[in-house]
Amino acid sequence: MSSVSRSVIFRGQKSSGLTFKQRRQLQNLVRYAILSVLVVFALFPVLWIVSASLNPLQSMASQSLIPNVSDPALLLKNYRDLLGNPDRYPFFRWLLNSTLVASVTAIGIVSITAPAAYAFSRFNFAGRRSLLLFMLLVQVFPNLLAMVSIFLMLQQLGVYLPFIGFNTAGGLILVYIGGAMGTNTWLMKGFFDSIPRELDEAALVDGATILQTYTRIILPVARPILIVIGVLSFVGVFNEFVLARVLLRDKETWTLMVGLYVNFVSSNFANQWGLFAAGAVIGMLPTLIVYLVLQDQIASGTTAGAVKG
């Protein structure tokens, strides 16, 4: 689509003395050269961490970029050490915690914002616009900024309601869901607006209740969007570090990111490098897969805001 604009020939190009084809080739050469350098920049750290995860000697001092081992079975030594010592590194526990927190949060966000967005999209009521704008305004302040008072709030709540207190997955989930309401309601409302109203009006005329229209007409049509929002929420929470670090204290409750950081980075960094690398490679897989599979949706998601601006 944008190729149209590139085919326009400008004055400066005419005077360069090269034929169109030569110029095109030169352009491509420069393009490939720069892009290749950038790809090296982009991928080098990733290759380096993968290589570190395969270095059986664990310490950073012994690492070379291409792992130098005689027996290929040794390549997986870090992974075996990391996964085989649940008492020292409860890696599966962290993975489970992260998966649990991220899944519940994602399901919570989708199932709570969808009805809200539906109401904003379809009903007309007093205060609708100011409520919507209020939700947008509140989102200017990320709840990360209020980490002190969130920490104190969960400590106080936890005395009476231990399942959503400080140092519990429940408390963390509550904070994540609460913080995601504004943005996601807006996002979802935008998608619901694009579903033709004739669909639900026809259903209403036929005597369906509003609830039935919502569950049987809107939700099935919007399912792909709901899944994308859910998956992106999952990934966002899975990778979140700051609030999780503030709100989780014990090794058993840590999420993967907190566990990797506190266990392997805070102390004796260079000597446990191989273990961290193995955990990092496992930890980056879910996100990497999601982003590469969904890259088109993500690209259009980020640009939706930009183009509309």
Binding site: V148, L288, V290, A299
Partner: protein, 538 residues
């Protein structure tokens, strides 16, 4: 798909809101209310008013929305709103409140909670008798005591029964009880419920060394807001200005001698309260005053603030520039375009924490890959300037794919006929970029630049995971680092465990960040103008 749903909807039965639905709603609401009321009363009982009020308001709103017919559409929104209120709005409001209090180590509990703790303490009055004791136990596992008073008289007491006078040597068995073993003695002491013996009015508590009638040590008088220490007779009055119980008599006496005397030096000190018996209280603008006026804080704060702004600005500038360059290079059709895009997006698709720590490893001074490639490289983490440069490089890597995606989309949306017109007017390619592409791009990407600025302003993950804000600033009274940004400094003050946690000051800094971020957003985004647009779209 549409035909499908249309076909299916014919089977939908017209529904009248049934009695069952109505009943379910009322019962559900009653359960929620009962639960909320219990929570509110428990909170008030402990003096945690702010949370009690917040939960009360949320519950009230949910009730109004679910009972009032005109507000029926809001029922769909109320769960989202309740969570927003608890997870975002309350924390914001509470941050403001905490900023005006002395909340922190030494002042963690409310006055009500402190008084409760004090009233639980006991002591043996001078008139009380301290009995030596020997434990007995029967088949059922009940305990009895053989008590010997200092004057030689002895008693036998079963559980909370009367004290029976006895005499002679302590027997091996007595009234169906036998002497307890050492292990059973220990168990008796360990189980708090078993430690009370004797009848009401002469209830004896058992400690390792003796059994004696204990009386409460502290008595709180709400009329004078003071605590009396029954053991020493001293009276301590609550001083809400500093959040301590203070020996007012001693303080007044000292002030008569020396007008400079401070209440702070006469606080009540007892076991378990190393810094004095403190509670949390509103202290006005003291935290803000400290933030702006404390000479010791000013040096580190100025440097932290300057670096925060510079870091956010250069991060946005560099990631935008590189992202735009890539987006321009990716324009048009060429072989391998999709492969390049997939590879170049990878930094965006890796959890930030993992990326940052990987970079930290690459910069590691002894064994990191950079010092292997460039043997003369100095230790980056030891020098503030070098760490800052390294952080900006890392953030460029982390951030450019976002602007690559954003700019690609925005470039595609610029109409091609603008370029044709420029060509007709004889513009060069650079002129076309300078006068068409860039301005149009900035219009659409501008708000995202601002949000990227505010994001980086609070990019705690990068700062903490790369070098924890270090290297340290040498002469700072509160630990601070040369690469600390405001949010990581806040974290240090509240949670790092270096020095005493000061939630009040941390909340104060949060508010100042709120204000800066909010001002930047309002100013640059032209929020009002954007609002009009948003309102039109609503």
């Amino acid at each position: 798909m549409i035909t499908n749903t249309l076909a299916r909807r014919r089977s939908v039965q017209p529904a009248i809101p049934g009695v069952v639905t109505l009943l379910l709603r009322y019962i559900g609401l009653m359960v929620v209310d009962a639960f909320a009321l219990w929570l509110i009363f428990s909170l008030i009982n402990d003096g945690i008013w702010e949370l009690a009020i917040a939960i009360g308001l949320i519950t009230l709103l949910v009730n109004i929305i679910n009972l009032s017919l005109p507000l029926k559409p809001l029922r769909w929104i109320s769960p989202a709103f309740a969570l927003l209120a608890l997870g975002v709005i309350y924390p914001i409001v509470y941050t403001v409140y905490v900023a005006f209090t002395n909340y922190g180590d030494g002042h963690l509990l409310t006055k009500a909670q402190v008084v409760q703790l004090l009233e639980r303490r006991t002591f043996v009055p001078e008139t009380g008798v301290r009995y030596r004791w020997e434990a007995f136990i029967n088949e059922a596992g009940e305990y009895a005591l053989w008590l010997t008073a200092p004057d030689g008289s002895a008693f036998f007491v079963i559980g909370q029964g009367e004290l029976q006078p006895v005499s002679g040597e302590i027997p091996e068995t007595y009234q169906g009880f036998r002497r307890a073993t050492r292990a059973e003695r220990t168990r008796l002491l360990a189980a708090a419920a078993n430690q009370q013996f004797g009848p009401e009015g002469n209830r004896l508590s058992v400690t390792r060394d003796f059994a004696a009638a204990l009386v409460p040590r502290f008595r709180y008088d709400s009329a004078t807001d003071s605590v009396t220490d029954m053991q020493t007779g001293a009276v301590f009055t609550a001083d809400d200005e500093i959040g301590f119980f203070v020996d007012r008599a001693a303080f007044e006496a000292a002030r008569a001698q020396n007008p400079e005397a401070r209440a702070r030096d006469f606080v009540m000190k007892i076991e378990g309260f190393p810094a004095g018996v403190g509670y949390r209280t509103v202290i006005g603008f003291a935290n803000f005053e400290r933030f702006f006026n404390s000479p010791a804080l000013r040096g580190p704060l100025l440097s932290i603030f300057a670096w925060t702004v510079a870091f956010a600005f250069f991060s946005v500038a560099s990631t935008f520039a590189l992202g735009l360059l890539v987006a321009l290079l990716m324009q048009g059709k060429f072989a391998g375009r999709r492969v390049f895009r997939t590879l170049l997006i990878v930094p965006y698709a890796i959890p930030a924490l993992i990326s940052v720590v990987t970079w930290r490893g690459m910069f590691q001074p002894q064994f990191g890959i950079f010092s292997q490639i460039f043997p003369g490289l100095p230790n980056v983490f030891a020098d503030g300037t070098l760490t800052r440069i390294a952080i900006l490089i890392v953030n460029l890597w982390l951030g450019y794919p976002y602007f690559m995606l954003v700019c690609s989309g925005a470039l595609a949306a610029i109409p091609a006929d603008l370029y044709e017109a420029a060509q007709v007017d004889g513009a060069s390619r650079f002129q076309a970029f300078r006068f068409i592409t860039l301005p149009l791009l900035l219009v659409s990407v501008g708000p995202l630049l601002v949000s990227s600025f505010t994001f980086n302003f609070n990019n705690y993950t990068l700062i903490a995971a790369f070098n924890e804000g270090n290297p340290v600033i040498a002469d700072s009274p509160i630990p601070a680092g040369q690469t600390d940004i405001l949010i990581s400094y806040t974290y240090r003050i509240a949670f790092s465990g270096q020095g005493r946690a000061d939630f009040g000051l941390a909340a104060t800094i949060s508010i100042i960040i709120f204000l800066i971020v909010g001002t930047v957003t309002v100013m640059q985004m032209g929020l009002t103008r954007r609002w009009e647009e948003v309102s039109r779209n609503v």
